[in-house]
Symmetry: C2
Subunit: 232 residues, 2 copies
Amino acid sequence: MSVDYIIMIAQLQLQLNPSLYLRDPQSSDLGQRIITESIKLIDEMGFEAFTFKKLSIAINSTEASIYRYFENKHRLLIYLIAWYWNYLDYKINYETHNIKEPKEKLRIALKFIAKELSDDDMFSGVSESALQRVVIQESDKTYLTKNVDLDNKEGLFRGYKSLCVTIAEYVKQINPEFEYPHSLVSTCLEAAHQQVFFAKHLPTLSDINGKEDIHQQNLEFLTTFIFKTISK
Amino acid sequence: MSVDYIIMIAQLQLQLNPSLYLRDPQSSDLGQRIITESIKLIDEMGFEAFTFKKLSIAINSTEASIYRYFENKHRLLIYLIAWYWNYLDYKINYETHNIKEPKEKLRIALKFIAKELSDDDMFSGVSESALQRVVIQESDKTYLTKNVDLDNKEGLFRGYKSLCVTIAEYVKQINPEFEYPHSLVSTCLEAAHQQVFFAKHLPTLSDINGKEDIHQQNLEFLTTFIFKTISK
DNA sequence: AGCGTTTGATAGTTTTACTATTAAAAAAAA
DNA sequence: TTTTTTTTAATAGTAAAACTATCAAACGCT
């Protein structure tokens, strides 16, 4: 691990919008336990059944203490999902940094978007595989609320938008005449987790079958769909 | 309105899976009020803030009475969304019935998927425009739960899957070699409402701008991406 | 008029989503 | 090392949500 790499990570952490929390969970032991355990719990029981009461028991603390870090469980979810998109955005920017060819950049981006994170991928104590499952099942709930406009004004969705814009840039470079780069990329980002969910739970809605490598098939689908759509 | 049409509607209503409710809301005045008012309320306040208590006040009845029709508010949402997909599936089947050319069938299907329903479109007392807004904002919540597999086994998502399969058939007829017809169509169906939501609330994620006709632009985007993806 | 079904009224339980207060513990400053 | 400040834990409490149960009134039907 080079010094540069450490600096990049530090910046990545700092980039998380302070509006995402009341008190920075990265700044204390309790805060970090809130993050790691909430990912586990939401992954296991789903966001609806998840409560601060249950979380407080899991981390051997109290509800009141958790409320000092996050206004409510919805905000905590937004934080977790934002962390993931920021992480992906960082990773994709890092991996495509010295690539010239936009098609290659797009290919790399898609690879990271569709890639399954493994259980031993850990990033400052966070189980990335559990977080990825949380993203697959819960991410849309962050913005599908009557509060979107206010939350968006606070910049809570910055990471996701940034990632979308980054990749839309590659699309524009490949085909400057294509009229819907952002729509295509957001559709693709959404499809990336939707198709995994469908493959596992509503297989009629997908041709990706659970028997083979879901993430590999998904990558092929997304690649086909995005490159064909922007072809001239 | 022809007799055939009436029969089709009757069938459409009957096709709604009885597992969707405890007591058929179409069968009584109170049941119908539950449906029409719940659509209004969810549209206005969002699904999270919506409660049976509020609904009972709106329909001048009691919580207990509503619980005789639906097990809980999540089941009611599933019912409303299922109604919409069944309605769309019926409409698309009806409108493409005597069309031979699969490309034309697909075009018609997309037209109905992307079409904005107007305030005066009413179908047995249901405000279709309000229901469509509910679909845009809430539909994904029907299946993004830990209960999906059980709900799916009960056939609660039959309408959506049926619509997806119908359109995937057109895709297969246009290009039998295309490997992901269902994935492409489910991606398209999801994008159809996602893009409207993004255009209104997270415009960075979309090229569809709120100033012009969102639904028309959306149709163009969806048409471009689906036809390009399946082109040889 | 009598019967079964549907609805309304009322009441009660458990859980969730918070807020407030105070004391103890830990960290930082003097 | 003592003092001060900040953080956390413990406890308690509230309002609303998500139900369940009971019973009587109303209604539709034969």
